[in-house]
Symmetry: C2
Subunit: 147 residues, 2 copies
Amino acid sequence: MKKISSRFSMAVHILSLLATGDGATLTSERMAGSINTNPVVVRKIMGMLKKAGFLNVRAGTGGAYLLKNIEDISLLDVYRAVEVVEEHDLFNFHDNPNPDCPVGANIESVFRSTLLQAQNAMEQVLADVPLKQLVHDLNEKISSSES
Amino acid sequence: MKKISSRFSMAVHILSLLATGDGATLTSERMAGSINTNPVVVRKIMGMLKKAGFLNVRAGTGGAYLLKNIEDISLLDVYRAVEVVEEHDLFNFHDNPNPDCPVGANIESVFRSTLLQAQNAMEQVLADVPLKQLVHDLNEKISSSES
DNA sequence: ATTGTTGTAACCATATTGGGTACAACAGAC
DNA sequence: GTCTGTTGTACCCAATATGGTTACAACAAT
């Protein structure tokens, strides 16, 4: 099946770069180098993150910087900013089951509540992890792998 | 983004039909009528459910019947039978982040564990709902809407 | 033998994805 | 004011997955 777009992981990657970066200007070019993709892809994703109010991009001169504290951004926030998942639409439900069949007429409402629970459980895990924690773990890993 | 295939909801629909059906033979044609899709789509999905050991289909003569008790089939079982989701691959991770960049080199291992938790939380909800419960709710809804 | 059904293969239109080119708008350096 | 490097978009692309559809051989029961 199709998976959840890697835009999400790329967005987290971008934000992590900004959070761990020294002052050096991080252009879309440089970020693309770390992510291993095209600069335009980075710019597109940054556009979404900008719209969400997480960062700002210096037009013309280049470079991006965070607007919010990384403890105030959860992974769910990033997920939401970057995915075009309508609030309760992780699962596709088949269209127009036959209303003249008892099962067809009622299965959707019965099944949907379970699907919602499943989706919510997933999102709750993301909501519980602030970017700060991920960056912390990342830094730990980085220093341990440097030594 | 892409959603989880409606094959899943169709599969649940099929199994619900078998569970609630009177003895009448349920051909792919009839099921397709309830689901509102093409008989071939139903047959394809039934093929997967058959492979998973949930049901059997009478070749030639037609019709399908359950092989397992509906309390022994969880929604996760159905999900697994019908989706081609590799065990821990709900989320796509961008390929080959740059190993020469500290962030690029380490973000995957750090981020993946969270993604796994999120996916597991979702699947756990599905695992906790046996088909029997869904069919029970369905029957309740049906009789209440009949009155 | 006839009939109705299943299991597959083949094909299609559609949508989404990540990637890529091109270029105008822009801001700073000089 | 000009030059330079960057961003923001608008397009376009190939690859992939989806659900649907046609077609037909295999099959089981009458």
